[in-house]
């Protein structure tokens, strides 16, 4: 390794040359432009959802709403389909995320104990499913033959344990100091008690990360609903959106009044569906960045 540079003030003074400063400013501006470009589709969507029909027909709407109105929101929220589906999504996301957290940590924690002999088999048994899996058709046939078609279970179960997330959790549990759990066991805690009272409280960062990831997974899932849920009253909002988007888009050619109203409604429904996730993830950012890094470094 490099010899330690003792005179750090000198070194850092040398780094800040005019070229360095110019690079920093150029870089900051460039990245700012990239960020604005990345935000543009969202801003466009939001602007459209608040704009009047006439302004959209005239193609006037950019990233600022033209003819500001909240009529579209009133219309969507009172449509009798959107809100019930939204509520479904909320319920499914909560049930799914809680089940996923429980099941994944029940698996990840024992897997993080190298002294557990069966991990020699269970580890590869779990990881193998990342390399080879039953395809779409065998999975579908299984769900149908279990009698789960058109049940909420068919929406929850396919993603309730993600192997990749289990590996991330295992890496985190491995970093929990063994001594603390042993101390807990000396104080009379069982193995399971040590998991509940020692390991879990120390694992808040990974639990927060997993909560976000599973929440996003269930909130955004539409395909399992598309495959398994036949009854309209059971649909999650993402599936409702999918139908909204794909039905009106085929008529994109005859850009008439009806289409523009649909564009309004579509934007509004999309904004409302994306909003909760957009509001939550920045607060969990420091956790999931750390969680991904830990998992990524350990492989």
């Amino acid at each position: 390794m490099a010899k330690k540079v003792k005179d750090t003030p000198e070194a850092s003074r040398m780094i800040v040359s005019p070229g360095y400063r110019a690079f920093t400013i150029f870089n900051d501006i460039l990245i700012g432009i990239i960020c604005i470009a990345m935000l543009y589709p969202f801003l466009y969507l939001i602007a459209q959802s608040f704009s009047s029909t006439e302004a959209i027909v005239a193609g006037k709407v950019g990233i600022v709403p033209v003819g500001f109105s909240v009529d579209t929101y009133k219309y969507v929220l009172s449509s009798g389909v959107f809100l019930p589906d939204y509520l479904n999504t909320l319920i499914y996301a909560v049930i799914g995320t809680v089940s996923a957290l429980v099941l994944s940590s029940l698996l990840a924690y024992p897997l993080s104990k190298p002294e557990l002999r069966c991990n020699k088999f269970i580890g590869p048994f779990i990881i193998f499913t990342m390399y080879f899996a039953g395809g779409m058709i065998p999975n579908y046939i299984l769900m149908v033959s279990l009698g789960l078609k058109d049940t909420v279970a068919a929406f929850i179960l396919p993603g309730v344990i993600s192997t990749y997330y289990v590996i991330l959790m295992r890496s985190f549990f491995e970093s929990v100091p063994k001594e603390l759990e042993e101390a807990g066991e000396i104080d009379g805690l069982s193995r399971f008690g040590a998991f509940i009272h020692v390991a879990l409280p120390m694992s808040k960062p990974i639990l927060a990360t997993m909560t976000l990831f599973y929440l996003v997974q269930y909130w955004n899932d539409w395909f399992d609903a598309f495959l398994y849920l036949d009854t309209q009253s059971k649909w999650p909002v993402a599936y409702y959106l999918r139908n909204l988007i794909s039905t009106s888009s085929s008529s994109a050619e005859d850009a008439g009044e009806a289409l523009t109203i649909a564009a309004n409604i579509k934007s509004c429904a999309m904004v409302l569906t994306a909003a909760p996730i957009i509001c939550v993830y920045p607060f969990i950012q420091k956790y999931f960045v750390a969680g991904m890094m830990l998992g990524g470094v350990k492989g």
């Binding site: 490099a2 002999r117 999975n139 050619e253 579509k266 934007s267 960045v289």
Partner: protein
């Protein structure tokens, strides 16, 4: 699993007693993983074995493992199907084009991000660039359709410059562009996380030493940052090559393609969906899916061996 262990212990008389103690000491941990392991057996391994209907005749409502052997009949069928080969070509083409363009861009973006000195600005940029990753593919597809629609901003721009509006979404020659561009938009920020992790692990003294030796900023990036993240680059490259024939793009393609764009947009996964669940040819579609799964394993293994030979490090 306990049964598994017992069976093993029977072979090894010396371990038998300690196995009893082992189970007594750890039984709670075994009980904990019981339900998840049963889940894996039912929802991961049964469908895996269910792939066997690629070689068997399956009738709806009867055994999920099929009724009678049909040999390689379904494989012979799809190998002669030009639509299968079109889907195969498109899968590779879309994934390769996306990889070739997005992979270097992500590395460059990560390096530029790492060069931001203001901590708050850096965090803000990260928050913004992660955002598209968390958005449902349904919404992403909806946004794309809005942006490229005949009354959308892209066509408005074309019209204002005197051009004719283009129906991007129904033209096969535009599908790859839409696919790759939106993929970069959605994955760029998220893709930097592991690189940033690797960069934060680089010893800052290396930069100081390099600057004392007269290396400017670009040279420092070239001689310190890049070598520091090379293992991460290789790992991600292996994973990406391993999934070149994969179905990661399924949802997006499924939401964006239409019969007029099948020519460039139909991939194996969407083909499997249409043949299997759309037309009820379960065994045929499973055979196609199984073929794809085997190619994925071969690609991943080959990429891993190649990486081990050239850089000395691989995934496993």
């Amino acid at each position: 699993m306990a049964a598994n262990n017992k069976k093993k212990a029977k072979n090894d008389v010396f371990q038998q007693e300690s196995l009893g103690r082992h189970l007594k000491k750890y039984w709670q941990l075994y009980v904990m993983m019981l339900i998840p392991v049963i889940y894996y057996v039912i929802f991961r391994y049964v469908p895996m074995v269910g792939n066997i209907i690629a070689f068997r005749r399956y009738r709806a409502g009867s055994s999920i493992f099929g009724d009678e052997w049909s040999g390689l009949k379904y494989f012979n069928q799809f190998i002669k199907d030009t639509n299968f080969w079109r889907a195969f070509r498109n899968t590779l083409a879309l994934n390769i084009k996306y990889l070739v363009i997005s992979f270097p861009i992500t590395i460059i973006f990560a390096i530029l991000l790492n060069e931001i000195k203001n901590v708050h600005y850096k965090k803000l940029v990260q928050t913004i660039s992660y955002l598209p990753h968390f958005i449902s593919m349904v919404i992403v597809a909806g946004m794309i359709r809005e942006l490229v629609s005949t009354s959308g901003p892209i066509n408005s721009l074309i019209v204002s410059m005197g051009g004719e509006p283009i129906q991007f979404i129904s033209l096969p020659q535009w599908f790859t562009t839409i696919f790759v561009t939106s993929g970069i938009w959605q994955g760029l920020g998220w893709g930097t996380i592991l690189y940033l992790a690797a960069m934060s692990g680089i010893n800052p003294e290396l930069y100081e030493a390099a600057s004392l030796d007269g290396a400017n900023r670009l040279k420092q990036i070239w001689h310190v940052t890049l070598p520091g993240i090379l293992p991460t680059i290789m790992t991600l490259l292996i994973l990406n090559i391993g999934s070149l024939c994969g179905s990661a793009a399924f949802e997006k393609v499924f939401l964006l393609y239409q019969p007029t764009t099948y020519e460039t947009a139909d991939i194996i996964a969407t083909y499997v969906y249409r043949m299997g669940l759309g037309s009820g040819n379960y065994s045929y579609a499973t055979a196609v899916g199984l073929f794809q799964g085997l190619i994925n394993i071969v690609l991943l293994t080959a990429a891993n061996i190649f990486s081990k030979k050239t850089t000395g490090s691989g995934l496993y």
